[in-house]
């Protein structure tokens, strides 16, 4: 799927020569280095989005413990209170804040409403997300 498949084909512009087709470069979805804020937004949305999909199905799978009644649920609650799980909750919150706020930004620029503001909006998204994350983390660990 993410192969960098390259093959040669006849060039129209340079008669008698074969050109090397560019391979698919999935790595560029995850390489914002040297790129603008827009790309950081794109990468953030993609990574967080895929992470949240993964979480969604994990979450639904874990909920199946409920069918086992009291014991299953208690086992889960014990696990959920462990520091590792609280840390995962923080990661989840980061994903939700990042994807949600940046999604709002994408909706605003994608409907052509605030196109010129895409850079300041990204900075606003980042600031609000970090503040939200700190607040959330404090809440999780104090509870």
């Amino acid at each position: 799927m993410s192969s960098t498949e390259e093959y040669l084909e006849e060039s129209k512009t340079y008669p008698g020569h074969k050109v090397r087709r560019p391979g698919s470069q999935v790595s560029r979805w995850f390489a914002p280095w040297k790129r603008g804020l827009g790309t950081w937004g794109f990468v953030l949305n993609r990574v967080a989005g895929l992470g949240l999909v993964l979480y969604l199905f994990l979450h639904l799978a874990v909920l199946s413990l409920l069918t086992r009644g009291q014991e299953g649920w208690d086992a889960f609650i014990t696990l959920a209170k462990s520091p590792l799980f609280l840390l995962l909750d923080v990661v989840l919150l980061a994903g939700i804040l990042g994807h949600g706020l940046n999604g709002l930004r994408v909706a605003l620029i994608g409907t052509g409403l605030l196109v010129r503001w895409h850079r300041p909006l990204f900075i606003a998204v980042a600031v609000i997300a970090v503040l939200g994350l700190v607040a959330g983390a404090l809440l999780f660990f104090s509870a």
């Binding site: 040669l8 090397r20 560019p22 827009g38 052509g112």
Partner: protein, 237 residues
């Protein structure tokens, strides 16, 4: 006073595969990255192939990736690209078929531009303070392909129409007051047309001509979104 610059140029020949060649160049900092490449060709290595013509960002043929970012080397001064003793890593544009060394085949790009059919000369406004008059000017888009090279979606989806063609479509709408042929609309208002863009804005970042393809794609998207919503409401009412 000249600077000492190291050029690391990605080479490719159909039979020999890829490699990186290093050249030491003595060049004035006010000359361009392209001048340095031409100097290498003239004095050091006649086998180096690269595209260039106008040397002033009009023909759009010389686009390259320099130190990881798309540039038109003909208007990138050495002093803006590196420092004395610095290194320039030069590669061909990404997402295009490579012919040899720094030469890419623009055919797939121009097929799409031809489909959209934006005339390269269009109306332009008068200068500030000037009487309104009929002026024409070459379009800002010089069809250099930097936007396609920089786009992370073009990097994986060869079916994506791409920033330049979509921006051209928006320009055609602007000039012709909303008229696009069905054939063009089918390509533009399409899963692999304007809806494929993920707003990374790289096209606008690297555009040497202020075309702002991303902004134009967003304008197209707004146009098509509200048109759909109007039709939906109209159909129900």
């Amino acid at each position: 006073m000249s600077w000492q610059i190291t050029y690391k140029i990605k080479r490719y020949h159909p039979d020999q595969g890829s490699r990186v060649d290093t050249f030491q160049v003595e060049i004035e900092p006010e000359r361009t990255v392209l001048d340095g490449i031409e100097l290498i060709w003239a004095k050091q290595d006649r086998t180096l192939v690269f595209r260039h013509a106008c040397h002033h960002a009009s023909c759009g043929s010389c686009g390259l990736v320099v130190n990881g970012v798309e540039v038109l080397p003909c208007i990138k001064l050495i002093q803006d690209a590196t420092t004395d003793g610095g290194t320039l890593e030069v590669e061909p544009l990404r997402n295009f078929p490579v012919v040899a060394d720094l030469v890419v085949d623009m055919a797939p790009f121009f097929e799409r531009m031809q489909l959209i059919g934006m005339p390269i000369v269009g109306p332009t406004g008068p200068l500030p303070g000037q009487e309104p008059d009929e002026y024409t000017a070459f379009e800002n888009c010089i069809e250099c392909g930097l936007c396609l090279s920089a786009c992370p979606v073009v990097a994986t989806d060869s079916k994506y129409l791409g920033p330049a063609a979509l921006a051209a479509a928006e320009r055609v709408i602007e000039v012709s007051e909303g008229r696009l042929s069905d054939e063009v609309l089918a390509a533009v208002d399409n899963e692999h047309g304007l809806w494929r863009c993920h707003a990374a804005f790289e096209c606008s970042e690297v555009c040497p001509s202020n075309v702002d393809p991303a902004g134009r794609i967003m304008a197209l998207r707004r146009r098509m979104t509200f048109e759909r919503l109007r039709r939906l409401v109209g159909a129900k009412g």
